[in-house]
């Protein structure tokens, strides 16, 4: 029996388990997936929790519901990968041999990287919404908050879902308008980047959206520490921002196991080829999604597109053929802009988000880089698609390669 081992049963690992179990002969290949947690979180849903739009039960399901029959599941912490001997060693000392390995261990927020962030004010006046605990605590806090300085800060990039912080402040604007207290809430957006977004045209469109909503952008703010006593953010160049409520997007890192295994960069993101997805260190190790150091968004849509490429390339490696697929960095994100509207961006390594229509040129139904009601419905519909189609590795009517059709230069 040959063995395919998948580390991580999040979006990427689950999709790959489904795809590979369909392709690999059950008499020849054993597939095993390892994860330390039993709950699958629909992470795009975390954004909706602080505003009471989703509750916990809207975003959780057991992981085992999405792993196909014929795939072994082990719930156990991973100690390290020994790439030289093709073994993965689990926390309890059990050693798993593999012929091919997929690393899908994702990324995590590490508030401890920033002095004072996880201090006395943590989950009292300082909240993250990238964890279920943080999102729930913030929902409680907002219920009775009388208003004041609301600051969203991105501690460093890369982060998961780079548009989520923008969506958060736009949701916050709508939330406080609807509650009639917007005049008592100042919203600011402090980012280490030079604008609302990294790519010029999207940054301009999104930047003016924030301006319209009276949300101030504080660019090039690189967080050094949080002063809990004086309730201030302090940057490395000694600028200060006072807050009454701080919503933080903490520093992101890959799984510490990647570092222990010597397969990552200094932030524990697994180093891999951005087109083939093969590890820089071992030819039988592949990386998918947030776990990798790929220069594209850390987002579910990217994982979904990468999964098509990885399926092809893994088969090439297994059958000893040259790689036939190349990942282009394709990313596709719905952006909630509040008041029942949304925007949509579609881009890759080389092409920045452009205006137009999607997926059908001239027709849509979704509008690129503009606010429409349809885009908002797309985002809401996506939760159903995620649970029922995407995780199960079924076909979607969107190509894994980005297309210029429908985009305006």
């Amino acid at each position: 029996m040959k063995r395919l081992l998948i580390l991580g049963a999040g979006t990427g690992g689950t999709i790959m388990a489904n795809k590979m179990r369909k392709i690999l002969d059950r008499d020849e290949w054993e597939i095993t997936i390892v994860d330390q947690h039993k709950t699958h979180y629909y992470q795009p849903g975390f954004l909706f929790i602080p505003f009471g739009m989703y509750t916990r039960q809207d975003v959780v399901k057991p992981k085992t519901s999405f792993i196909p029959l014929g795939v072994n599941v082990i719930f156990q912490e991973i100690d390290r990968i020994d790439g030289a001997s093709n073994h993965v060693i689990l926390k309890d000392g059990i050693s798993l041999k593999y012929d091919f390995l997929i690393v899908a261990t994702g990324t995590r927020v590490v508030p401890d990287e920033t002095p004072g962030l996880k201090g006395p004010l943590w989950h009292k006046s300082i909240f993250d919404f990238y964890t279920i605990e943080g999102a729930m605590a913030l929902a409680e806090f907002f219920k009775t908050w009388p208003g004041g300085e609301l600051v969203l800060n991105i501690a460093d990039v890369p982060i998961k879902c780079p548009v989520a912080p923008l969506e958060f402040v736009m949701f916050a604007d709508a939330f406080f308008v609807e509650r009639g207290v917007r005049s008592k809430v100042n919203i600011s957006y402090a980012t280490p980047m030079s604008g609302a977004f990294t790519k010029p045209r999207a940054s301009k469109v999104l930047g003016s959206l924030l301006e319209e909503k009276n949300i101030s952008i504080i660019p090039d703010f690189y967080l050094e520490k949080v002063d809990n006593e004086r309730k201030r953010l302090v940057s490395y160049d000694e600028r200060e921002i006072p807050f009454d409520c701080l919503v933080t997007i903490p520093v992101h890192k890959g799984d510490a196991m990647i570092g222990r295994s010597g397969l990552g960069d200094e932030m524990d993101f697994a180093k891999a080829h951005k087109h083939t997805l093969q590890s820089d260190f071992f030819p039988n190790i592949f990386v998918i999604g947030d776990a990798g150091n790929f220069p594209t968004s850390k987002a579910g849509s990217v994982v979904h597109f990468q999964a098509d490429v990885l399926t092809e390339n893994l088969m090439c490696a297994i059958e000893n053929r040259p790689f036939t697929e190349s990942f282009d960095g394709h990313s596709n994100c719905y952006i909630e802009t509040g008041f029942g509207k949304g925007a949509l961006i579609d881009f890759n390594y080389d092409t920045e988000p452009l205006p137009g229509s999607f997926p059908f040129p001239g027709i849509g139904p979704f509008g690129l880089l503009k606010e429409t009601r349809m885009n908002h419905y797309g985002k809401l519909l996506f939760r159903w698609i995620y649970w029922h189609i995407l995780l199960k590795g079924k076909e979607m009517p969107i190509d894994s390669k980005m297309t210029m059709a429908g985009k305006k230069m």
Partner: protein, 103 residues
Amino acid sequence: MAQKIIAGITVDVNEEGYFTNPAQWTRELAKEVAKEEGIQLTDTHYAVLEFLRERFAKGENLTIRSVGNSGIIDIKGFYGLFPGAPMKKAAKVAGIPKPASCV
């Protein structure tokens, strides 16, 4: 593509003044580019520049945090060397493209 004459040598640059061909870079040119930014280069500056050029050549992400973890200098010190926007300024002086933080 634009060109610029620095210390009598013609180099290829983009509209923001970043080198488009890192191979044209020399320590002498760096000194001149730094002057335009109001920076007098020291050995520590050069160590950081070499570090960034090496990382760029290897295709690795250029981040402020990576400089902070380099062992050459901490982040605060990096701000001291290239005040304001350290990564953008350092990349310009190091003769490498402006780091596009990946979305």
